[in-house]
């Protein structure tokens, strides 16, 4: 009896302890998380900052001084290259460890290790797309170059020395919530992070859809509705720019390039406007100071902790300020004493699918060049929290991984991946992007800029440039395969060598322009060139509206200052509305509208075409035009079992403006014959009715900001850790390209001159800790369209900077 009582008295506390110290499903280990000695309370940072700290880190070669300014931005002063990157690793980990760790685990397909079985399809996808394979190749490239090797090893050592200094109490809060621990950083993780950028920016693929469309409608319809050059365009390299090189011969397409490939069955999806960005540089002829001004705002999925981490790196031969990616050494977008640079994405077609004919179900050999060739296999071991590890076998042809042999169910990322196809993707190639940034950070002039770009592979970017010598330039830069026209627009036959990538466009022949007569250069992800460029980069780029607005404004700009550029970055004027409203407004039959629709109509008619926060017309217009697009195309391009996409917005505009009687207008699913006017009227009523259903009677709640609901969520979507809803304007098609949670992830304006003056802001803060006041302190400034003056310090004691804390790292 008493033995039992004694036993019960021991068992109860043990059971309770176990229950409160263990993660069940998504519930964090309760008391491990809530206790104030090692749980989340320890992550509450004091509002006051220690003004002077000293630490000893044996791995440094010499002393390093780090000054943190009033926004917690580190300014690192080191005496050699090793120490500067070591310190960058150390401070980045100090502020962003969990983010770096989580993003690289994501890239490597290792999320199941943390969250268990529910992430298994995601992990398989990452691995089957060859993310780890590509990162390993890329790392090889980085390690071959002594400079980038030193950079990456020092950065890694800095991160690890920070990790080793942590106790349970000091771990970032997300580790406590998800109940895991940081592991040592490795150079491979730097490569994985850069691959993930390629995945975000250059993983899009429409060739599966395009193949289906060609099969259903034929080549002529494809030529008509999916043309190789848009109806309206304003290319990055100004029309008329001469190509001063002798182009390489372009490979010939196979005779049966139009051969039809088989398809699988998945749902239709409307193409979302991709991730875009703006950058431009204006020459001294157009500025008040007589020196160039450069601006850049890369648009990405916004998150907290912020995507970017601001930093200044100072060492002999180096003084560079800008934003870095947590997980990669160096400054990615920024400036130094002499030059400034920025990037936007080039939608180059550097990802192709090849249909593979396997000999049998073992997938051991495939047909290529009239013989059977062996595949190689790569085993991907996926560790899963709370269950047994899974081994996933991926077959590789000479093109690359065969992504899926069976379609995973209910996994949206797999939608545009054709079954049994091999993937050829630039991100699988050996590369060394770090070297580009190493050289740009130290660059002094135009020649240094051009040299730096030659090392860059992917994701291809429009590198804009300005220097104190009054040079401005822009280059659509990356390693571009030498393709025959439209190679990779459709799925290709993997057995024909003529379909392989057969060479590269020489880096020196990438589209570029220096000091054009119009005195500015710009890009907004639109076509790189006009149709005279001798090589094929892609058949479709982002729509031209943002670029057009940028170029319109820059053309008339004189005596520009940083402020005129700043207001331009938050311009919300819609070129799309300007193009299309004069054609569709007259089609609306006012007599058939109800009271709400009538009021909506008068608002849209009087609208100034700005996507401003308080504009009701913007909400109506946005829904209206999307619905028109749906009305025109959905009847033909939405077929069960045949995944296709709609023609572009550009093609839709062309149809409305020039072919209102086109056969595509009629809804083939009804017996009546619809006219464009019918579709436009239905769409207008639909737009007003849905707004009314969702937001009640027409009024304040219909305003664009309320409809758009912009916010910056937490990276792992943890509720409470994101931003509040931001009542601000902007839209995907405007320069200020802010949608719900995708938009300008960093806004920078640099005035070149004797001392360069930088201005910048990102929607978040330097710290990744939700318990720090530096977690989201810059959001309001960003939302208001303002910029901070950036402190470009000349020495650690430079009095021009507002320094709130100093950290001295000594060797002993």
């Amino acid at each position: 009896m008493n033995k039992i009582k004694a036993l019960i008295c021991i068992v109860i506390p043990i059971l309770l302890t176990y229950a409160l110290n263990t993660k069940f499903g998504d519930t964090p280990p309760l008391l491990k998380f809530l206790n104030p000695f090692t749980g989340f309370w320890q992550n509450a940072e004091k509002n006051t900052v220690n003004p002077n700290r000293k630490i000893t880190l044996k791995a440094t070669y010499q002393n390093v001084d780090i000054a943190f300014d009033d926004r917690m931005i580190p300014h690192i002063f080191a005496q050699n290259d090793h120490d500067v990157y070591y310190a960058q690793g150390y401070v980045t980990a100090m502020h962003r460890l969990w983010q770096m760790d989580f993003q690289t685990r994501f890239a490597a397909g290792r999320i199941s290790e943390v969250v268990g079985k529910k992430a298994i399809e995601l992990d398989k996808y990452q691995r089957r797309m060859g993310m780890v394979y590509g990162a390993e190749k890329s790392l090889e490239g980085m390690m071959t170059d002594p400079k980038s090797k030193e950079m990456i090893l020092a950065y890694t050592a800095g991160i690890n020395d920070y990790i080793h200094s942590l106790t349970q109490a000091k771990l970032p809060i997300e580790y406590k919530l998800l109940d895991f621990k940081p592991e040592d950083w490795t150079p491979l993780k730097c490569a994985l992070l850069l691959k993930q950028m390629s995945a975000v920016l250059a993983m899009g693929s429409d060739e599966f859809y395009m193949t289906n469309i060609r099969k259903k409608f034929g080549t002529d319809v494809v030529k008509d509705l999916f043309p190789d050059y848009p109806f309206k365009e304003d290319p990055i390299i100004p029309v008329g720019t001469k190509w001063d090189f002798d182009p390489l011969p372009v490979p010939t397409p196979p005779a049966d390039a139009l051969k039809e490939m088989t398809t699988g069955n998945i749902e239709t999806k409307q193409k979302e406007e991709g991730i875009g960005s703006n950058n431009w540089a204006i020459s001294g002829a157009k500025t008040k100071s007589g020196y160039p001004i450069l601006a850049n705002d890369p648009h990405l999925d916004l998150t907290l902790p912020s995507i970017w981490y601001q930093i200044q790196l100072h060492a002999p031969g180096l003084n560079s300020y800008g934003v870095s990616l947590p997980g990669a050494p160096g400054v990615i977008i920024g400036f130094n004493q002499n030059i400034a640079w920025g990037v936007t994405n080039v939608a180059a077609d550097v990802l192709d699918f090849y249909e593979i004919k396997f000999k049998d179900n073992t997938h051991k050999s495939y047909w290529y060049n009239n013989e059977w060739k062996n595949t190689t296999t790569r085993l991907e071991k996926i560790l899963i929290r709370g269950s047994k590890a899974e081994i996933d076998t991926v077959y590789y042809t000479h093109q690359g991984p065969v992504v899926y042999l069976q379609k995973p169910e209910k996994f949206s990322k797999a939608q545009n991946i054709p079954i049994g196809n091999a993937l050829r993707w630039i991100a699988h190639d050996k590369s060394n992007e770090l070297k580009t940034f190493y050289l740009l950070n130290r660059g002094k002039n135009y020649n240094d800029y051009r040299k730096a770009l030659t090392y860059y592979t992917a994701p291809a970017q429009n590198f804009v440039f300005a220097s104190v010598d009054n040079d401005i330039a822009i280059t659509a830069n990356g390693k571009f395969p030498l393709k025959w026209k439209d190679q990779g627009k459709f799925i290709m036959d993997g057995s024909d060598p003529k379909n392989d990538w057969q060479g590269w466009i020489p880096a020196s022949q990438n589209p570029t322009v220096k000091n054009p007569p119009r005195n500015f250069v710009s890009s907004a992800n639109q076509s790189s060139t006009d149709q005279t460029y001798p090589y094929y980069i892609n058949w479709e780029f982002s729509p031209y509206e943002r670029a057009k607005r940028i170029n319109d404004r820059l053309t008339v700009m004189t005596n520009a200052t940083a402020d005129s550029i700043r207001t331009m970055q938050t311009d919300t004027y819609s070129i799309h509305a300007q193009n299309i409203l004069p054609a569709i407004l007259p089609l609306v039959d006012g007599s058939k509208l109800n009271a709400t629709q009538k009021e909506g109509f008068s608002l849209v008619s009087a609208w100034n075409k700005h996507y401003d926060a308080k504009e009701v017309a913007a909400s109506i217009f946005d829904l209206w035009t999307k619905r028109i697009q749906y009305n025109i195309w959905d009847d033909e391009f939405s077929v069960d079992g045949v995944p296709m996409r709609y023609p572009s917005r550009d093609r839709t505009v062309q149809l409305i403006l020039t072919q209102p009687d086109s056969k595509w207008v009629d809804n083939i699913k009804t017996p009546e014959k619809e006219t464009l006017s019918d579709l436009v009227n239905e769409a207008f009523k639909y737009s007003c009715d849905s707004l009314e259903r969702k937001y009640g009677p027409i009024g304040e709640r219909w305003q664009w900001a309320n409809f758009k609901h912009s916010n910056v969520p937490h990276l792992a979507k943890i509720p409470g850790f994101g931003s509040k809803t931001l009542m601000i304007g902007g839209g995907k098609m405007t320069i200020d390209a802010l949608s719900e949670s995708n938009g300008p992830s960093w806004r920078m304006v640099v005035e070149l001159g004797k001392t360069p003056k930088g201005h910048g802001v990102f929607p978040g803060g330097q710290s990744g800790n939700p318990g720090s006041k530096f977690y989201d302190n810059m959001i309001d400034t960003w939302a208001n369209g303002e910029l901070y003056d950036l402190f470009f310090m000349q020495s650690v004691d430079d009095p021009s900077a507002k320094i709130i804390s100093k950290l001295k790292i000594s060797k002993k």
Binding site: N2, K5, P36, F37, A44, N47, G720, G771, K773
Partner: protein, 116 residues
């Protein structure tokens, strides 16, 4: 006495050991010097309630409760005070139960001895 011992021991040992050391401390203290069941339940309970509330406030107040508010948002409650109450009450509860179990463990073991 039990209260003071648990308070001090829990404070010091939690600096270096995981939170569940309070379970061991409460159990052992009440097992050794717990006079009655009632004392063995409530002394650890209030010791940990006080200690954890104090420590949480010590970290949270200089932070203007920014983090506690975010965690409240995550848990779907309106006030950070509720997060504080939940943390401290859960800790106090498990300490109280452990103390109570410690006391009765001694009773069980002692009666066993007298019986045999």
């Amino acid at each position: 006495m039990v209260f003071i011992v648990i308070l001090i021991a829990s404070y010091l040992l939690q600096m270096v050991l995981p939170w569940w050391i309070i379970v061991v401390i409460s159990f052992a203290t009440c097992g050794l010097i717990g006079k009655t069941g009632k004392i063995s339940l409530w002394s650890p309970f209030f010791a940990i309630l006080l200690l954890w509330t104090g420590m949480a406030l010590f970290k949270s107040l200089p932070n203007n409760n920014v983090l506690a508010l975010r965690v409240a948002g995550m848990l779907g409650v309106s006030s950070w005070i509720l997060v504080l109450a939940l943390s401290a009450m859960l800790g106090a509860f498990i300490a109280g139960v452990s103390g109570f179990c410690g006391y009765h463990f001694r009773k069980a073991v002692l009666t066993k001895k007298t019986n045999s």
